[in-house]
Amino acid sequence: MLFLSACSTYNQSVAPYYKNVSAGNYPQAEKELDKNSLIQTPRNKLLYLMEKGRICHLKGEYENSNNYFNQADQLLDQGLTSASDAAVGVLLNSASQKYKGEDFEKFMIHYYKALNYLYLNKTEDAIVEARRITLQAQEQGDKYNNKDSRYSNDAFALTLQGMLYESNNDVNNAFISYRNAAEIYLKSPDKTYYGTTMPVELEEDVIRTAKLNGFTTEADQFETTFGIKYEPVKPSDGGELIFFWENGLAPVKTQVDLFFSLIRNSNGDLFFTDAAGGIVVPFNYDGDRNRVNTKSVESLRVAFPKYVAQTPYYSSASISVNNQDAQLVKAEDINELAFKTLQQRALKEMSGILSRLAVKKIAEYSLRAAAKSDGKTNGLLEGLGYGIQLYSLLSEKADTRNWQSLPAYISYTRVPLQKGDNQVRITLKNAQGATETKTIKVQGTGRLQFYNYATLR
């Protein structure tokens, strides 16, 4: 079983599910998900819960969806690392370890949970999610010591947090969230945070909530910083709608094979270099470095995960509410996040994988050398040596798992509603310029409402 699946990636193994998600056949997709044995294994539990939550959300079963997302959230809360899990990683490969989730995926859980609660009219619970975003952000900052060079926070999650507080008329907390989100953009190079520039919407949110709180100094300061003059308009009778457009599917991971050799520099330090010579990774070896024969590690095949973006079918969209046009602005670029975060940790992971493989290789080499030592060949030792070699060959596999039903991009806009019926028209454009139009009805209640529209083709 293990030997047969050794060469297909996670995406290929769960393809029937993802194909149906992409095609919009959600009920069929759920059937495929429940049929799939790979995703139901204990090590993939987190992934399964996230996919279940996602598909239930897409089907409009918000209560069910949160059932799964809450379980996923709890699983993450309790931590998925253990000694036995680490041992599996060393002995076998990272694909056999428990799936622990990408950092941005953890934030996305809160996004969907919050929307589910809002759709169920449980504002108080949606606010709990806003608070959980704070905890998640703290954990994230903790993980990377709040380094600006790492993904230590998520601007979109904080923006969403502000919206959630605002939907509960808590303008004080809303201001703090919006401001924190804005500050992430402001301190990023080119004011671009993982592929998204500061949404104009957010600039206005910061100034509007500052004014609502009576923080005129801050409001003026931010007007200067952003270089805009913003006079909040009188809220409309029907309240407002925050419209999210979730477009395309998250990138998938594939496996790339690299070949490394071990070299010793003049100081006696050991390094791995790949065949192309572009990558140099130090070798963390606990044993006696001087006794390592660099010949034992030549052309070591290493499997690494690599993201491949999935081109979305629609390239742009615009919406109009009661014939008033509104511009959708990108707020979260999951493509960029996925690529960048993997890149940031690639060297560390490579070093771990390589060191692990090299230890196997050295063991194999010593066994084979011992087998040939006294002129005669010791069959058993040689066999064991080949055994390790074969085992390394078969067990070397990249971890190609990630939450692939997430959208590639999330854009949003905020529009006023009139009391009663509102016609929201969504115009989708594909790369060839062909347009499609969808219409949804929203009841203006005087409150802040949310709507997320997914095109996952």
Binding site: P42, G79, L135, D142, G383, G387
Partner: protein, 197 residues
């Protein structure tokens, strides 16, 4: 032949990892036993909150004050909302029901229905106006008005770093005189937990 042997060795080496015991065990435990599994708000917290707050609210002197001021009539209480201001999805109903039942059992406080149950009652009454016989029909406008309303909040503070976490909960309940807006009783239960992963 040799290749086969190697395969067997490799297969055995690998299979050892996959054989994991996962037989599920269910053990009945006492509801008073404190078992902490995840560090989140759980049944023990709800029970402790209920025990503490019930004891406090029935032992406080607002009841005697009310009785002496109202010619021996017992106070009538309605249970309002408990706001969840914590970082977890906590259902306050678990301990509120305990407090309600203590009111009934102690015979010191009378309770009237509020919230969704009250709406259902009124709907039933409305239904009776057309469908029940005149002699059994219940009339509108004869509900027992509450003297006091019980409201509250659940707050939490989380302090976490790497694999350590301290979670602090505070459950506050307040009893307010509906007529005068006067707060006649305040009680709180504090719970702190230290979680290490």
């Amino acid at each position: 032949m040799k290749f086969n042997r190697i395969l067997t060795v490799a297969a055995i080496a690998v299979s050892g990892i996959f054989i994991a015991s996962c037989s599920r065990q269910v053990t009945r435990v006492s509801t008073d036993q404190t078992i902490d599994v995840s560090g989140n708000w759980n049944n023990s917290d709800a029970r402790m909150a209920a025990d503490e707050l019930t004891g406090k609210i029935l032992g406080a002197n607002w009841i005697d004050t009310h009785v002496s001021e109202h010619q021996g009539k017992r106070p009538v209480v309605i249970v309002g909302f408990v706001q969840n201001k914590s970082h977890e999805h906590i259902d306050a109903e678990t301990f509120l029901t305990d407090i309600e039942s203590s009111f009934i059992q102690s015979q010191k406080v009378r309770l009237v229905q509020g919230g969704k149950k009250r709406e259902e009652l009124r709907a039933e009454k409305a239904d009776q106006q057309t469908n029940a016989s005149v002699s059994t029909m219940k009339k509108f406008g004869l509900e027992n008005g509450a003297d006091y309303i019980l409201q509250g909040s659940i707050n939490s503070i989380v302090d976490a770093h790497k694999r350590q976490k301290v979670v602090y909960y505070q459950v506050n309940l307040e009893l307010t005189n509906i007529q005068t807006n006067e707060v006649v009783w305040i009680g709180e239960k504090k719970i702190a937990k230290y979680v290490k992963n």
